[in-house]
């Protein structure tokens, strides 16, 4: 690599305003708090206890709270993990088939999130089963979307 590529050019221009990580955050009008998510989490619980998993998956894949803070997101996710792990393997395919493109994208984000934290890794097998069924239905597209999307769950 040539030397000129290493020059810190912003140091020569006081007005340039360095690019920060915050600059690339998606534009959210406000941050969703945990309180605002509580009703959805309750709803998820009641669907789960009545065994209506299809409705539960439908609920959490529609309009995920991208604009929540990290703590609220992880609370919310533990509710989702409960749903994901209680569905019977044989039902997964049918539930996945009903999702549309946006919902598939949201679902794969939650699957990856699950695989990235210890609580989810305990249920690695079931997350992989979801993953397999999802890619059978939607191909690699949700994965490519996940890789390049700055809206995280």
């Amino acid at each position: 690599m040539e030397d000129w590529r290493r020059i810190d050019i912003d140091a020569y221009d006081p007005e340039s305003g360095r690019l920060t990580a915050d600059d690339l955050k998606p534009p959210y009008s406000h941050t969703v708090s945990l309180q605002e998510l509580q009703p959805t989490i309750q709803q998820l619980r009641s669907y789960t206890s009545s065994g209506d998993f299809a409705a539960a998956v439908e609920l959490f894949t529609t309009d995920p709270p991208y604009n929540a803070d990290e703590q609220a997101k992880s609370q919310y996710f533990s509710g989702i993990l409960e749903v994901l792990t209680q569905v019977r393997q044989v039902d997964i395919a049918n539930i996945v088939k009903r999702l549309d493109r946006k919902q598939q994208d949201a679902l794969i984000k939650y699957l990856y999130k699950g695989m990235s934290i210890p609580e989810g890794q305990k249920h690695g097998g079931i997350l992989l089963a979801w993953f397999e069924k999802l890619t059978q239905v939607a191909g690699v597209n949700p994965i490519v979307h996940y890789l390049s999307d700055r809206r995280t769950v």
Binding site: I9, D10, Y12, D13, S16, L19, D23, L24, P26, P27, R101, G139, V140, N141, I143, V144, H145, L147, S148, D149, R150, R151
Partner: protein, 370 residues
């Protein structure tokens, strides 16, 4: 293959951008730190007629105006306008863009009197010629661009400028230049009332990098391709339609075929045609798709029966090592053997593009028939 009208291997390196002139007799391509100009006639190999050498870093984009002026921009942070002279040579004029990072893309407005340059300095420079100073002036659009601009496209009214970049936003700005443009150009535009220079007309957040964006001026629609492998179409109503690449790989470039068809291409080496039907946008045809034949490996491994002996497995291991890097002819290659970097309309009749030219990282120019 039937989708291919012509193909030429032009250079040994990558081509990032190309442009034909109005009557398709000249072709300009970027190659390393130069711009090569070719004379094109029918199906013959293009003839190199000029090398435009003034840049000293990689040339990133080239465009030719309606009047035949060539503009190039480069990582050396400059743009150069090349005026064709009667003896076939070109007279360069340096355009100072006043940016501190590489220029990435350039586009003439359809009038041919101004052009826009996108850069990694989070700036779009709109440049026009000032008669009294004999000088190309550049005016900056800065806010609210947050990252590198990858693509630019002028509306045919020469005022609206669409851009997309790595901050994940597709935006429409006003590139209105006082004294050059008139209010009549945008009278009755559905995009707004007033268009002062540099004002943000619309923005759409996509999340992923935007690789290319193009206007379809006649129906006031914008299409852009993103790094998540999707093609998105929107207009002034902000209603975004998205459709995925069936192969999952991202597109780098797109070209409107007519009001209801778009050709997109990128990392999968061959273009995909999308059309808008009653069920919205969907894939209608994959051009020049590589044919998968139930393939045999080129080299047979000979006596590779299971012997069970320890020595034999070691022998096979070495044989396999020996085969490493050899091509197995399981797939026929598509015409482009590397990513396609730019598509452009080549032949058009009744507002319907019938042939599309493309260049790629493999140094080839390919003309596709639709």
């Amino acid at each position: 293959m039937s989708d291919i009208a012509a193909q030429f291997k032009l250079v040994k390196g990558s081509i990032y951008s190309h442009c034909f002139n109005q009557d398709r007799s000249l072709l300009a391509i970027t190659y390393d730190t130069d711009c090569y100009v070719y004379k094109v006639s029918a199906a013959k190999q293009p003839q190199l007629v000029a090398v435009l050498p003034d840049h000293d870093k990689t040339v990133t984009a080239v465009d030719i105006s309606v009047h035949g002026r060539i503009v190039t921009c480069s990582q050396d942070r400059n743009a150069i306008v090349w005026e064709p002279l009667s003896n076939g040579t070109y007279k360069p004029t340096l355009v100072l863009l006043r940016i501190n990072r590489a220029a990435t893309c350039v586009s003439w407005a359809s009038s041919g009197y101004k052009f826009a340059v996108g850069s990694s300095a989070r700036i779009i420079a709109v440049c026009y010629y000032e008669q009294e100073n004999d000088w190309w002036v550049s005016k900056h659009i800065k806010k609210p661009i947050k990252s590198t601009i990858n693509a630019l496209s002028w509306h045919s009214n020469c005022v609206l400028l669409a851009c997309g970049g790595t901050d994940g936003y597709a935006r429409v700005f006003s590139g209105f230049i006082k004294g050059l443009d008139t209010k009549e150009q945008v009278a009755g535009s559905p995009w707004g009332e007033k268009f002062p220079f540099g004002s943000l007309v619309r923005e759409w957040y996509q999340g992923a990098w935007i690789h290319d964006i193009k206007w379809r001026s006649s129906i006031d629609k914008v299409a852009f391709v993103t790094h998540d492998g999707s093609l998105n179409i929107t207009d002034y109503t902000d209603d975004i339609k998205s459709v995925d690449n069936p192969e999952g790989l991202p597109f780098i470039t797109l070209c409107w075929i007519n009001d209801h068809e778009i050709l997109a291409a990128g990392f999968s080496n061959h273009p995909v045609l999308y059309s808008e039907g009653s069920r919205g946008w969907e894939v209608s045809k994959i051009l020049d798709s590589p044919v998968k034949s139930a393939g045999k490996l080129v080299a047979s491994t000979g006596d590779d029966e299971e012997e069970g002996a320890f020595g034999m497995s070691a022998l096979r291991k070495f044989k396999e090592l020996d085969l490493k890097g050899k091509v197995s002819q399981q797939e026929e290659k598509s015409t482009h053997v590397n990513s396609i970097t730019e598509l452009a309309a080549y032949k058009e009749s009744n507002n319907n593009v019938t042939q599309v030219s493309s260049v790629g990282l493999d140094g080839k120019l390919v003309i596709y028939k639709l």
